[in-house]
């Protein structure tokens, strides 16, 4: 085993049954070269303090459970390594901009509602019945949306987005990127249904292109691009709707 060193992990603590407000608690954690921040937290829970609460599951950066703030940076704790911070202490906090349920666990119900609001499923055009055959889609057509289909719903983008922090009515990066994922799919014909979400004040217009959502995304989804391309789409829709035949809004 590689050499063991010690690092101080300072965690935000909040217990809804006993605490009026959050506070910080520090733990000294022995760590090895390959230990992640998540493994540091697990060490604390297993050996030092069983009350420390956080979410985790796959520990390989695909389930999206373990997002948190490390020194004000939204990260997946499973792929953030203690060696990169030593000898300084690190501060671990719950994802910014979300209500804190307990310690590092945030309340994600608002996000889930937003995810549901964008019609995140294929809406085929009526009369298009592929029967029991797979539809055709060329690799290039797959590429049009595949990048936006990589979102693991880890919420780091929301924690990086000050617009969401300032106004949580904003639909936000991940949900809008997912909306764009289906719009960009050659098999989909549901753009019109999703346009309402895009066009709303809390749709793409809640974004001021801070751009941090794309910077912190561990899966390179680039929500900022999805949102800002749809500003053009929304603008076109705004001005061209008068030219459209009646009955189509």
């Amino acid at each position: 085993m590689s050499q063991t060193r010690t690092i101080v992990i300072e965690c935000l603590r909040f217990h809804p049954e006993t605490d009026e407000a959050p506070y910080y608690q520090s733990y000294e954690v022995p760590f090895t070269e390959e230990m992640s921040v998540l493994e540091g937290l697990q060490y604390i829970k297993d050996h030092l303090d069983g009350t420390l609460t956080f979410r985790w599951s796959c520990r390989m950066a695909i389930c999206g459970s373990c997002g948190c703030m490390v020194n004000d940076e939204p990260v997946l704790s499973c792929q953030t390594f203690l060696r990169d911070y030593h000898p300084a202490r690190i501060r671990v906090e719950p994802l910014a901009h979300f209500p804190i349920l307990r310690d590092l666990a945030i309340d994600q119900t608002d996000f889930l509602a937003k995810l549901e609001s964008v019609h995140p499923y294929l809406i085929p055009s009526t009369g298009d019945d592929p029967g029991d055959q797979p539809r055709h889609q060329t690799p290039d057509q797959v590429q049009d949306y595949l990048g936006y289909a990589q979102c693991i719903n880890c919420l780091l983008c929301y924690a990086a987005c000050p617009q969401y922090g300032l106004n949580d009515a904003f639909t936000g990066p991940a949900a809008l990127a997912l909306l764009h994922r289906y719009n960009a799919d050659s098999r989909d014909a549901g753009k019109d249904q999703r346009m309402e979400v895009i066009n709303a004040e809390e749709g793409v217009w809640g974004c001021t292109l801070v751009g941090e959502c794309s910077e912190v995304c561990p899966k390179h989804v680039d929500p900022a691009r999805a949102i800002n391309q749809n500003k053009i789409a929304s603008t076109q829709d705004y001005f061209l709707r008068f030219l459209k035949p009646r009955g189509r809004r």
């Binding site: 390959e34 349920l101 310690d103 029991d132 889609q137 060329t138 797959v142």
Partner: protein, 591 residues
């Protein structure tokens, strides 16, 4: 205690649970469906599956080949009638996912692309790069949002099945955020809680894969079937256990020992040439490839890493372009967790526990021996994996049997006319038992008991087994369960989001599942599939052991093991041959 009425309760929001929920909702929109999961559905472990899902679509492939590969891969311990049903449904289900939007990888002409996996006669694995499980799970979750009759209970932890008059009629769950209990009344329950690989220390699985679904059924007198058959995936990162997909070998990756020698040719999977070809060398089945590692390790021909011995998975000859197209996540995982770029150097890998072949026995409709209880996915033992699962069959299983269980449970719920039973007393008793744990001040930490369980299973019920070590494991597990009963000391006494407490409840189930595994293994005096013995039982014994193991819960004592027959329809047991028999005239990969 709050009580919530629904027609159907599905425990687990992974691939099987979601597919079941959609199937139930589609078969009867009037049915109320509660989808209860201890994590938000897209966090479920299906998300981590990489390589792909099996379905016959390639022009060279046939249903017969899929049948043969599955049954011989399972060392003839498969329920052949169920396999027959399964292979007939796979392609339809994968196509259904395509219609829901799953981004399957395509050929240039826009058709579905398929790749080889271990033990396959023809390319059969549908894939979405190397994030197939991720895409399947998110597609299912997002598609499930269309159905208003599916009511989700995200982050609710189920602890007990409530059985009255010999039927399951409810579930006790705790809302994790508040710690409040809730009684979920229903006419049918589908268990879709996943496997139990976290029984072992070195595993490829997420932290949530703890087997409590199996434990809940087991505690109600449902036997656990074939629990000794635990799959080691041959290629995981040493230390972390992070999975490197079999797809890496399907795309042409090779395994090398410390001398740079492709050692699989020495273990009945050669000869080396011609290469590539199906069902040979690195495209052998997982049990054989993992067992070969064990022998190489014993012979001292493995590479030493800071996290134990390993062999090399070499992808360099695929080139950066193909790696980025077919295996982008593998490259990222290797870079992040092993500081290795597979474009430039081989990835160190070793076997780690990956899959629980056994589980809650059920028929092709998902119906278990307990009235009203259905099972689907890894927690179920529907009978298609036998003694060794073929890669790509489990993602297809989630869909095929998720749907079957959803539809049959919906039918049962619709037709059920029995008046709701009075479950309050039972629920209150169970709740009190769990709440009592919050008052325990004496005892051992959760982590200490869990670590000991890992040690027992790794050393006693590993890749290669013998009576002495399995016997010790059984005794130690019995003692460990006794220690658990005496008390687990919790730091956390609150109700809100108390994961320490819930982990302790979970551990009670996991320990019983571990015990079922160890005792089933000890009772199987032969070698078959993933169960390999060294103590004179190193051959398959069809005369005495062409049968399922059944572990029966016996309260605080060790389980009772007996055996049940296997359904054989058209493939009688033969010698299981890889390598030399495998169609050398046919190239394994197409460029």
């Amino acid at each position: 205690m709050d009580a919530i009425e629904s027609d159907l309760v599905i425990i687990g929001g992974g691939g099987a649970g979601l597919r079941a929920a959609i199937a139930a909702a589609e078969s009867d929109p009037g049915l109320s469906i509660a989808l209860v999961s201890k994590v938000v559905p897209m966090r479920s472990h299906t998300v981590a599956a990489e390589g792909g899902a099996a379905g016959v679509i390639h022009p060279d492939d046939t249903l017969d080949k899929h049948f043969e590969d599955t049954v011989s891969g399972g060392d003839w311990l498969c329920e052949q009638d169920v396999v027959e049903y399964f292979i007939g449904q796979c392609t339809r289900e994968l196509t259904q996912l395509e219609h829901w939007g799953c981004p399957w990888s395509r050929q240039d002409d826009g058709n579905i692309n398929v790749r080889y996996f271990g033990g396959m006669k023809s390319p059969r694995t549908w894939f979405a790069a190397d994030k197939t499980g991720f895409h399947i799970l998110h597609t299912l979750f997002q598609a499930s949002l269309k159905y208003p009759s599916i009511r989700r209970f995200d982050e609710f932890f189920c602890t007990d099945l409530l059985v009255e008059d010999g039927r399951v009629q409810g579930v006790l769950a705790f809302n994790i955020a508040t710690g409040e209990s809730v009684l979920l009344r229903c006419k049918a329950v589908i268990l879709a809680t996943g496997g139990a690989s976290r029984v072992f220390g070195q595993n490829t699985n997420a932290g949530i894969v703890t087997g409590e679904g199996m434990g809940m059924a087991y505690a109600q007198g449902v036997p656990l079937r074939d629990m000794e058959f635990v799959q080691w995936h041959p290629t995981a990162l040493p230390g972390s256990g992070i999975l490197i997909t079999e797809g890496a070998r399907g795309e042409g990756g090779i395994l090398l020992n410390k001398d740079g020698y492709r050692y699989l040719q020495d273990y009945g999977m050669g000869p080396l040439d011609p290469w590539p070809r199906p069902r040979a060398m690195e495209l052998g089945p997982r049990d054989r490839v993992s067992q070969a590692f064990w022998h190489e390790d014993q012979a001292g021909r493995t590479v030493n890493t800071p996290n134990g011995s390993a062999v090399h998975l070499d992808l360099r000859h695929l080139g950066e372009k193909k790696i980025m197209e077919r295996l982008p996540m593998i490259r990222e995982l290797a870079l992040t967790f092993a500081a290795t770029d597979p474009v430039d150097s081989p990835i160190p890998v070793r076997p780690a526990v990956h899959y629980t072949m056994g589980g809650v026995p059920c028929d092709a409709n998902g119906a278990t021996p307990l009235q009203g209880l259905f099972a689907a996915g890894e927690c179920a033992s529907v009978g298609i994996h036998g003694a060794n699962r073929l890669g790509s069959n489990s993602l297809a299983e989630l869909l095929v049997f998720g749907r079957a269980a959803g539809e049959s449970a919906a039918r049962l719920a619709r037709e059920s006319t029995t008046a709701p039973a009075n479950l309050e007393a039972q629920a209150n008793e169970a709740e009190a038992r769990h709440l009592k744990m919050l008052d325990t001040t004496e005892g051992e930490r959760v982590a200490a008991i869990r670590a000991e369980m890992h040690d027992i299973m790794e050393s006693g019920v590993g890749i290669v087994r013998d009576a002495e070590r399995m016997g010790q494991a059984c005794e130690r597990l019995s003692a460990l369960r006794e220690r658990y009963r005496r008390g687990v000391k919790l730091d956390d006494r609150g109700r809100c989001f108390n994961t320490e407490w819930l982990t302790a409840i979970e551990l009670g189930h996991t320990l019983q599942v571990a015990e079922a595994m160890a005792h089933s293994a000890l009772a199987r005096k032969e070698s078959r599939g993933a169960h390999l013995r060294q103590d004179g039982f190193d051959k398959r014994d069809d005369e005495n052991f062409l049968c399922h193991s059944m572990a029966w819960h016996q309260g605080d004592g060790p389980p009772r093991i007996d055996h049940a027959p296997v359904t054989i329809t058209r493939s009688s047991p033969r010698e299981r041959i890889y390598g030399r028999d495998s169609q050398p005239e046919q190239p394994a990969r197409e460029e």
